[in-house]
Amino acid sequence: MVRPDTAPNVTGRTSGGEPLLAIAGLEVNYGAIAAVKGIDVEVREGEVVALLGANGAGKSTTLRTISGLTRPRGGTVSFASERIDRLSPSRIVRLGIAHCPEGRRVFGSLSVAENLRLGATARSDRESIAADRARVCDLFPVLRERMGQTAGTLSGGEQQMLALARAMMARPRLLLLDEPSLGIAPLIVQSIFRTLAELKEMGIAILLVEQNMSLALDLADRAYVLTTGSVSMSGPAAELKADYEAVAAAYLGTRR
């Protein structure tokens, strides 16, 4: 997998051809419980796709399966036309998928700089890593001020920024984002979503799991609604936004 050393190109967005990520008939079980029951999801190069649904609908499980933390019971996950559903998480990161997990999961006892260095674990090109560190600090200037602090001392919003920056340090083609707004002050959420829009402009494909439906649909090109492990609705974000009532109903009682 060779990627250019400069920022990903903006014209990478294509409407035809092979999708960047293709999930087909994916089934995932936790013990005897079926968490994901045969879903098809696609993300194209440079596209932002939202995965909506109530708690327990299988959104996070889907992301965990893409990044190799959870093994599927059936179905396939392909990235850039290559099967990845039997690969280890470290191989999958190296193919160009970075997963920014729910609850941020920054390394609280390590410094901000060390967290960023760990984000680039899959890479060995020291010079471009340094350049990317400067770039993510431009995206999140507060991290530059906090570089020597341990991540545990950051506020929730700052930790979310660090988690995003850490994922960006892997220089992903596809970013998996799990609930970036969870437990974070509204002002910071706005700033984070502005940054996500910038990432989209850079041509990075994003698969976004988000409880805040209107925020997610504003950013996304397309969306899928999961209901108890199955896709109950899907389509262009603008259309789903117009049919807000139906999407909210698909949330199974957790309408907001």
């Binding site: 990044s67 190799g68 933390l69 280890s88 998480p89 470290s90 990161v93 190296r94 970075a98 997963h99 997990p101 609850g103 999961r105 920054v106 390394f107 609280g108 006892s109 390590l110 060390e114 260095r117 760990l118 984000g119 674990t121 899959a122 850490r166 892997a170």
Partner: protein, 300 residues
């Protein structure tokens, strides 16, 4: 003998004993830090290290090289045990891991009995190491092996400190110890990190085994049992899963044991271990995170 000199003498004993506890406890904590698993077979790496040194010595290899071979054998045994016994049950419930490590203990110790019988063997020590160093006209006495123990422990700790703070693998290990899932998501090869952790932990246990046998003068298949229990106590006193805590706990425990024997009435001495384990219970009740009080991450 003057009180000051007596205290100096006992301090040296405490540091030498604490070094051994710390060496074993650090390995226990390293493995627990990443895998959240108490490796009861850890003490048997001491036995492997000591017996390997014995065998290497018996075929005519000079002591220092034989001892180095013993440390390497301990490391190799740890890596093999991880690969063969622990990796297949990784992620299983805690009780499965516990039973697996107990099973490994039985297998290793019985293998030791099969090959070397259960009767203690003399440990071949160069004569100079057994000679006592005397100061102040014999008022302070300690054997060379005490000095060797302390020096080698410092070397091992310096290596570990360098490894953990200055290398990429060390940074990865600290990350994995804090959050194994997140460590996988940034692309760390967790299997490799676990192998490295077992190699270092078991090398430390192997070194402790060689030094323990050198102090005791004998080797036997169950020699790892008592030090393992003590290291367990030391690790809990310091804060289980923390390397610095294990180090601190090792020296605190060594100091305490020497204190009990040296400064309390001689009638109390036989109860040394009882006092130590009572302390363990007290720590588990009142300060379960240990002296360094590393707060456990609450994962949702």
């Amino acid at each position: 003998m003057s009180t000051e000199l007596y205290i100096v003498q006992q301090l040296i004993n405490a540091v030498a004993l604490g070094s051994l506890y710390a060496l074993v406890a650090i390995g226990l904590s390293m493995v627990f830090g990443i895998l959240r698993m108490t490796n009861f077979a850890h003490g048997d790496m001491m036995m492997v290290g000591a017996f390997a040194t014995l065998v290497f010595g018996a075929i005519g290899i000079p002591f220092w090289i034989a001892a180095l071979g013993g440390v390497a054998a301990g490391a190799a045994a740890g890596v093999i045990v991880e690969r063969v016994a622990y990796r297949p049950v990784r992620g299983a419930p805690d009780v499965t891991l516990l039973l697996t490590s107990l099973a490994v203990t039985y297998i290793l110790e019985n293998f030791g009995i099969l090959v070397f019988t259960s009767s203690p063997k003399n440990f071949p020590l160069p004569d100079w190491m057994n000679t006592a160093l005397q100061f102040h006209g014999g008022q302070i006495t300690f054997t060379q092996i005490n000095v060797v123990t302390v020096v080698l422990t410092i070397v091992a700790l310096a290596f570990l400190g360098w490894f953990v703070t200055r290398t990429d693998a060390g940074l990865g290990m600290r990350a994995a110890a804090e959050d194994l899932g997140a460590a996988q998501l940034v692309g760390l090869d967790v299997n490799r990190l676990i192998v490295v952790a077992f190699a270092i932990a078991s090398a430390f246990a192997g070194l402790a085994g060689v030094l323990w046998a050198a102090q005791a003068g004998i080797v036997e298949p169950h020699m790892g049992f008592t030090p393992l229990l003590k290291a367990f106590v030391a690790a809990i006193i310091g804060g289980f899963g923390s390397i610095a805590g294990a180090l601190l706990g090792g020296f605190v425990l060594g100091g305490l044991e020497v204190l009990i024997v040296a400064f309390l009435p001689s009638a109390v001495s036989p109860y040394r271990d009882a006092i130590v384990f009572a302390l363990l219970i007290a720590f588990l009740l009142f300060r379960p995170n240990g002296l360094l009080n590393r707060t456990q991450e609450v994962k949702l």
